[in-house]
Symmetry: C2
Subunit: 337 residues, 2 copies
């Protein structure tokens, strides 16, 4: 059987078996944005890793090395934010072609450091090896979170309100401008490109929101809103109703959707790589969370739906027409890509 027949998530299920040999210090192994370990008194240690492969996650035809570096750090920081944590340490592995320019690596590291500095992440080690073919970057990140503040995907309960930070679809619109350039206002293209290459992991936002209390679950939106809604609902064993009209989409994203003859909502639902946070929150705390985040950094936090019992399934409400939400989002090894 080939990998493309089982897909990324089928593969992960196979690999989980027998992975934990000494559970004493493991709070959560494979199955959330980051692993959770017992740490120093009062804190949990968070650990996560992401690998980026040339011509799958980025291509040198469209990305600068600094952008690749920045994004590699950002997607890992986002995994820590999705657990409610503070990112702290990174290990960076690079597989590079021998004929690659040193200046290229300097720039890639400048991007890693730029994002690392912004979020207080040290690069404490790594590995540099040669690769005969594609370039590969792996980053492993460590962070920490107070014992009682850790947010899992599995904590959402019926009655909770679904929130999202920022806006959605900008990264996918940015990808379109890179893959098939079309005439558009320069500032719109620049904005979308930045959304794609320099996403803002929502560390400040989640730390402010946690202080308000009431959050029950979190996930970062890497594979698209719909994919993450399914992930959160499955982990929490709940249903979800999304409000199509409430999903925040930036004007520039709508502008590019028109140019590329796409539905803005498709960018937002299925685009992925926005690295916004999807949050579940007790209804009585929604206002406090939104105010706390707004005070900390002005990032909008929008109500986009609610958590319902599992029997009600996963649906989307388009102006009163409630339809089943079609699953989808990025899945490595998937047959039909």
């Amino acid at each position: 059987m080939e990998l493309k027949e089982v897909g990324e998530f089928g593969l992960i299920e196979r690999l989980k078996a027998g992975a934990i040999v000494d559970p004493a210090r493991v709070v959560m192994g494979i199955g959330d944005d980051a692993a959770v370990l017992k740490g120093e008194p009062g804190f949990l240690t968070l650990a996560s890793t992401d690998m980026l492969v040339e011509d799958i996650h980025f291509t040198l035809a469209t990305a600068t090395p600094r952008e690749i570096g920045y994004k590699t750090m950002a997607v890992n920081v986002s995994d820590i934010a999705a657990m409610g944590g503070i990112p702290e340490q990174a290990l960076v592995s690079l597989a590079l072609r021998p004929e690659q320019q040193v200046e290229f690596v300097d720039e890639l590291y400048a991007g890693l450091r730029e994002c690392g500095q912004r979020f207080g992440v040290n690069i404490i080690g790594g590995d540099t090896v040669s690769s005969p073919r594609a370039m590969v970057i792996n980053l492993a990140i460590l962070g920490r979170v107070e014992n009682d503040a850790c947010l899992y995907r599995h904590g959402a309960r019926p009655g909770d309100i679904l929130l999202v930070t920022g806006d959605l679809g900008g990264s996918a619109a940015g990808l379109d401008t890179l893959l098939s350039p079309r005439p558009a206002p320069a500032e719109v293209i620049a904005w979308a490109r930045a959304r794609h290459f320099r996403p803002t992991p929502r560390v400040v936002e989640i730390r402010a929101a946690l202080k308000a209390g009431g959050l029950t679950a979190a996930d970062d939106i890497s594979d698209g809103l719909v994919a993450e809604v399914y992930t959160l609902a499955t982990a929490s064993r709940v249903g979800i109703v999304l409000e199509a009209g409430a999903i925040p989409i930036a004007p520039a994203t709508r502008q590019l959707a028109a140019i590329y003859h796409k539905e803005p909502l498709d960018y937002a639902l299925y685009g992925g790589e926005d690295f916004e946070l999807l949050l579940a929150c007790r209804p009585d705390k929604v206002d406090a969370v939104r105010e706390a985040v707004n005070r900390a950094c002005r990032t909008p936090v929008t109500v986009i739906g609610r958590v319902v019992p599992a029997e009600e399934g996963i649906t989307i409400n388009h102006s009163g027409r409630v339809l089943p939400l079609t699953p989808g989002g990025y899945n490595h090894f998937q047959l039909d890509r």
Copy 2:
């Protein structure tokens, strides 16, 4: 300037600048077998990562997926052993071709788990992505060590005795049997192949040795004894005299050296990937260390030289003829490979 002109170690020096933005919890960043962080009371956290690339570190023509998995875990465990630590948690990233067989990945994971179970290492997370070309595996490992037990490369002092665990050159001899098979006794080939693919990280040995006291520095032998002698001497700002006749070489390694028309000592000095430990020890504690390791697991610990002042340089004593030791060992991106 191309990478092959600066080499792996030149590159690492460039990348170190500005890597630490918040030093509060970092005891040691880039520059040893593992990074060292402040951890829970009484302990330091160790973190390291190694990336293995198809057709550089292994080839499917000679290695089974189980061997690749076992070795990937073993080389990372060895980095923790080289700090005196106990390995605990691993994050595994895999870049795989979509047409790869699922059974291949199952076997690779079986190898990772087999070695993980042997040394008590959990697989707590990872990333699986598709790769259009070469397969890549990255493992990031976490471990811990008591505050006062952590062993660095920089601790050796003139007067210390140099020790090595096990024997050297077996892995390089095994590589020869894989790359250009020649007639040899089956048990000799099997032994050398196991040395190459299933090295034994010296966790039990180092933990026993630490109890005896007197160790001042440690390094694991991944790039060859000579390369690691240079690394340890440079980090400690000392000189070293190796005793050529004392370097432990197994009979099977000597047998293969004869078959491949090589010097057994060349296998031992420059071969690499033995993953034995190179240790510096106070002279009054050498016997206690050797006895402690022997009691724990019967692995031999051999005196192979001594630490001298830096002015005396790095030399090797061949039956009374003391010669400068020619540097060498594996270096990614090196021009002449």
